[in-house]
Amino acid sequence: MRLYEYEAKQIFQTHGLAIPNGQVVESAEEARRFAVQIGGPVVIKPQVLTKKRGKAGAIRFASDPDQAFRESQFLLGMTLKEEKVSKLLVEEKVEIDKEFYVAITVDYSSLKPVAIASPLGGMEIEEVGQENPGMVKKVRFSISKGPTEKEFDELVSVFHQTEQRVMKDVSEKIYRLFRDYDAEMVEINPLALSKQGKAVALDAFLNVDDDSLFRHSDLVRPRGKSKEEFEFEQNLKEMKWKYIEMDGDIGILSSGAGITMAILDLITMRGGRPANFLDTAQMDADGIYKAFSLFSGNKGLKVLLVNIFAGLNRCDDLAMGIKRYLTEKQLSIPVVVRMVGYREEEGKNILKEINIEAIQSLEEAVEEVIELSKGAK
């Protein structure tokens, strides 16, 4: 779960990292008042979850309160990567001598956490790494012990000698953050170094592992979504389902990420357009009923493909779920069911009662839904 910059900065501050003097505002007038209070130039940043704010021209500078008002008006109501801007972080403009990069994340290849530092901050670190590999230092370390003195020293060896002490201090602090917040990634880019050698986090990135949120329940709240979307997602999360809407017209209901990806591939390769990716936990009659309710809300659907491969669950139980939904509620689109596995005959017989002829072969079922999706045009 990714935090907003201002949320991450509050946490950074409690961990002893310096951040610019700033305030979160929701109106241009508030921004003007804060700029008056600062009495100098300010930077205004929309609080959204995309990392590409700078590239989108959405980080604005203002030299006086009136300009702060105008820039805030411009930013508020903007939409960045489908997220409407409703909050801005207004901060005093910090005197910058140098801009550095520092992060801690997980190296999925070596199965170890890795600390990364570079004196070339403020840019895309991937690009820096490709163009100047010598300017990016990566140090992998033990999760149980944390980086040793020597490892911290190695990390900050990428900086000038006079900067190493302060950078070591920053690195130790973000390591604490990484552990305390079960982070997938903590990143400061850029970290400003003032002429006096003081380090200030100009940006703050903190991504908390979703599977650890039970240890950080205070952080769970809507981000970048309407209340309805958030509740919908929390609901799915409680059921341990993953649901991603796509812009096609073929709904897909099948449990398991792997098989669902395989079905998306089959449909797309044969010229159909999938409407969603849904990864459910193991299905039972109630689950399949709930999943049908999920699809009933999608008006763009032309057909629904249900794939049942019963290993640990039972075809007849799942067929009962489908029957119950279709007799209690209305679904205006055709439903194609592919069903194999445990108690397959019993399941097929139940579906016959509601005039659904289950298909044995996945490929045939895929052909059928593609035809139906095109014929319904």
Partner: protein, 292 residues
Amino acid sequence: MSIIAKSSTKVLIQGITGNAARLHTKNMLDYGTKIVAGVRPGGGGEDVHGVPVYDSVVQATSKHPINTTILFVPPKGVKAAAFEALNAGIKTIVMVAEHVPLHDNLGILEEAEKRGALVIGPNTPGLISPPEKTKLGFVPSQYFMPGPIGVASRSGTLTYEIVSRLTLNGIGQTTCIGVGGDPIVGTPFPKILQFFEKDSETKVVLLIGEIGGTREEEAAEMIRDRKITKPVFVYLVGRTAPEGKRVGHAGALIEGSRGTIESKLACFSEAEVPVAETPADVIRIAKEILKR
């Protein structure tokens, strides 16, 4: 022969009194798995389908020869359970739970490596060796039969779909292993390939991979560099999937452009590894290789 799950494997079930654990203990026993003990703190003295239950792993290991444990505990309890098993000297741990916290998982894998122990999972249905009549976990055994193919997969449900077709076509398996769906797992493809390479009964290896991570690429490099000499073929899914949430910045930083479908296909092509596009392709390629 098979890998990891063998008829000589002596199994402990941690968290044996839970509903799912009871059901799958029964299924595993019926299939032939030698389950010798279970653990449930406070549950010592009970039995589950005839399997004696102990309060702690050490109590169980002092009474029975145990070399493998399966953790049927909720994600929050996985780290403590895994450390208890490692501290008791158990060398193979199967972690079926999904949603194990990332840092817990890293800690378990670090400790296991230090102790020379093998971790399967997390987020895996486990593994099954039809020739040995042994399964560790909850794969539905009716779709499997003994034969020459070793299968390793990142997805449980897709494994059942594919392996059931192999079985229908008379192509049996030495061992089928779910390596786990998480980005961090104890026995990723490169490690499993080494196991299959050493197993005399395995003639062909099928990897069922997907987008994200770089394990497919690493496996391809091992094959290209002739570290694996047995024929390997691959079924890759996610060609058309929306970008997964784990495939993001952090991974991109460390792996460069690896992890995409294009990168995986290019690596397998360079290693001259056949790649199936559909389930039907898998069967066709398997038959071709076995005919040679």
